[in-house]
């Protein structure tokens, strides 16, 4: 089949890399790390009104092994930080992290001895969402930012062995 014929039948060509990134970015499965009040807004985002499913993130995965984006929703205590880090370690690479709300980003109003002043002290946070709690559309925006990050990644999706 010549290229003209193929094009007439509705084919188009692209790089496998770009196709894979497009697929990856539109199937971000969040790991809901709901720790406090922010978790309620995170659930609202997943619900029918804000409907994160429109952006391909509808499946909240309660198993870290099946998710690629951890949403830290709420304040992390020092005691909990170890558990969060263990869950983070169980997520397969590549993975992303959203710090949702003032508390996860900076400690927020919980300026005290027991609360980690920002989840970025023990996690590589990609997107910070301001607000207390952030509106669900702000978290949607954070997921769109993650999608943009995935599409603009420099790391190759496929690593082919060098030809001899």
């Amino acid at each position: 089949m010549s290229l003209e014929q193929a094009l007439r039948q509705g084919f188009f060509t692209t790089r496998l890399e770009a196709l894979a990134r497009w697929a990856m970015s539109n199937s971000v499965f969040p790991m809901p790390m709901g720790l406090a009040c922010c978790a309620i807004e995170m659930m609202a985002m997943a619900g029918p009104r804000y409907d994160v499913a429109r952006f391909g993130s509808e499946v909240f995965r309660f198993s870290p092994r099946q998710s690629d984006c951890m949403i830290v929703a709420g304040w992390c205590t020092y005691k909990m930080a170890h558990a969060i880090r263990r869950i983070w370690d169980q997520m397969p690479e590549p993975k992303w992290c959203i710090a949702m709300g003032a508390c996860a980003s900076t400690g927020g109003m919980h300026r005290c001895y027991g609360v980690v002043q920002g989840a970025d002290q023990f996690l590589p946070v990609d997107v910070y969402v301001p607000g207390c709690p952030p509106r669900p559309d702000a978290v949607l925006h954070a997921i769109l930012e993650i999608q943009r990050k995935i599409r603009e990644r420099t790391e190759p999706v496929f690593a082919f062995p060098e030809k001899e």
Partner: protein, 165 residues
């Protein structure tokens, strides 16, 4: 039964054991001698119907004599009475008899007071920290404890290398 009956009964059972009685705003507070608290609770529960321990609180009266105060809130459900008991202890030796043998739910309340204020409860079956990690060395609700904690006293997991993006 009224509070007058309660107080008369306690005074008969523990002569000299009651240090102070304060009645204000419809509330009755009794300060008892520290070493008697378990017996007072036993009498209140068995003979006066105070069958419900609502809460135990600890107070840091920093710069006062007898720095720490433990507050017990009791309810007699059948009589509709609420009673507040207090005991005090010194900073140098903050020990109060445990009332867990009398009210089993005091177990966790006393563990909380130990965790936050560092008051030890003699005779408690399992006096461990309840909120903070077991190797934490301080009692954070004491007045001299800094608001943001003591750096390095609570370990954090190491931040992983940021994966190549």
């Amino acid at each position: 039964m009224t509070f007058d009956d309660v107080i008369a009964h306690l005074e008969a059972r523990f002569p000299g054991g009651i240090r102070e009685i304060r009645r204000a705003l419809g509330e009755t507070t009794i300060l008892v001698r520290t070493e008697l608290i378990r017996d007072v609770c036993r009498v209140l529960k068995a003979e006066l119907g105070f069958n419900y321990l609502v809460d135990i609180a600890a107070v840091d009266r920093f710069t006062e004599q007898e720095r720490f105060e433990v507050v017990y809130n009791l309810v007699a459900l059948a009589h509709g009475l609420r009673l507040r008991l207090k005991v005090r202890c010194e900073e140098s030796d903050p020990v109060v008899p445990s009332i867990t043998p009398v009210y089993p739910n005091a177990n966790w309340h006393e563990r909380e007071a130990w965790d936050m204020m560092g008051i030890r409860f003699a005779g408690h079956p399992d006096l461990r920290r309840i909120y903070l990690p077991e190797d934490f060395r301080y009692h954070p609700l004491r007045k001299e404890f800094p608001l943001l904690g003591i750096p390095g006293s609570l370990p954090l997991p190491e931040k992983p290398e940021s994966p190549a993006r």
